[in-house]
């Protein structure tokens, strides 16, 4: 699935009133896709992703894996759901219908998870053939390929 595909899948979460947007991270924190207003630019997620990943890692420090988390702030909530290869995070208003959101998150996760797995395990794109490593023919040329001369006359071996 392309980033556009992930974005399309995430946009379904906006059907739940109060959802401002969402994003998907690898378990290690790299951004895989997002459905958020433009103000949330990709660079922002370098730190946010890494910290959210560390947050999940911290909570699972004793081996008790995190399934989900809700971070409540003054006016917003961040719902985080962990799946096999990453994290789905939803930014929502405080008065959101949590039950509806849970259902929507379950469906969205189910939809994007195999695609993300495919994305993460797909082979790298083909690359152009490497230039030939065959060495140039040996000649009597000098160090820079030009014939060796002495006082205007070309020198030959022997």
């Amino acid at each position: 699935m392309s980033n556009a595909g992930i974005t399309r899948a995430l946009s379904a979460l906006r059907d739940v009133a109060g959802v401002h947007g969402s994003f998907v991270l690898r378990a290690t924190g790299e951004l895989l896709g997002k459905d958020l207003p433009a103000v949330f630019h990709d660079e922002l997620f370098v730190e946010v992703g890494a910290r959210l990943s560390r947050f999940v890692e911290t909570m699972a420090a004793d081996g008790d894996e995190v399934s989900s988390a809700v971070l409540r702030f003054d006016e917003h909530r961040l719902y985080v759901t962990r799946f096999a290869h990453g994290l789905l995070a939803v930014i929502a208003a405080n008065d959101i219908n949590a039950a509806a959101l849970r259902m929507a998150v379950t469906l969205t996760t189910r939809r994007i998870e195999p695609e993300i797995v495919a994305l993460l395990t797909s082979p790298p794109p083909p690359v152009a053939p490497a230039p030939s490593l065959t060495p140039p023919p040996v000649s009597v040329a000098g160090s820079h390929g030009a014939p060796r001369t002495y006082r205007g006359r070309v020198l030959t071996n022997g």
Binding site: V39, F40, L44, E47, V48, R51, L52, R54, F55, T58, M59, A60, A61, D62, D64, E65, V66, S67, S68, A69, V70, L71, R72, F73, D74, E75, H76, L78, I91
Partner: protein
Amino acid sequence: MPAMNSGEESPNTMRESGFRANLHGASLADLVQMECLSGRERVIRVSSGSDVGYLFFRGGQIVHAVSRRGIGETAALEILRWNDGTFEPCSAGWPDRDSIGSNWQNLLILSAQHRDELKHREEASGHNLVAFPTARSSPPRPLSAPPPPVSVAPLSTSSSRLEASVSGEATAPMLAQVRAAVRIDQSGNVVSSKGDAGELSQVASYAARLAELVGDGLGMQGLVSVEVTQQRSRTLIYREKSGNTFALSAAPDADLSQVRERLGL
């Protein structure tokens, strides 16, 4: 908790307009909750046996407390653990500064935990103390009846007066599933704890900070709480207005709705 009598009017009892109450069977937690919900600013003198303490209420919170053994949260928790006595307004002088930052719900939760811890210690040490009858407790059992089941959870509050007074008996099973609880100040020092809270304090401190930073990055200010569902547990981290962090770890199937309600989440 046994009857709470207004008792004889003490010399420093305030005289003010309104009804005088003589409530028998009310718990201290009931009265504290009533006082907080009224939002009034006044001082309440609480006495229990030879102990006397003062709770200062303002804006729906306990903002200061004094007992013979201390002031602030320590005193409030000491007073809230008393089982019986009197509860009456008085005209004690107000301090220059408030000494309590925690909200009253947290204070009640902590006092319930202390009470249960004490109860478990007594049970573990083989003491066979008979609980006083309380307003909401079950009727006395006949001597031949089997003893009530005792929860093995370290934080069981099945008999706690506190949670019953705050939100009904349904709270007791919830708190029975709490495994550990801890309050940490802004410097990371453990202010109080319950159960095996050593690792919880570290995890909660760091996780709360990370959550705060994640919020900052996304433009979400003012971390209120973090609730994490894990395979073998549930963790609730609550940032108090004072800046302290309160965290509890519970069984995975624990219903934390009562705690959320108390914390205003």
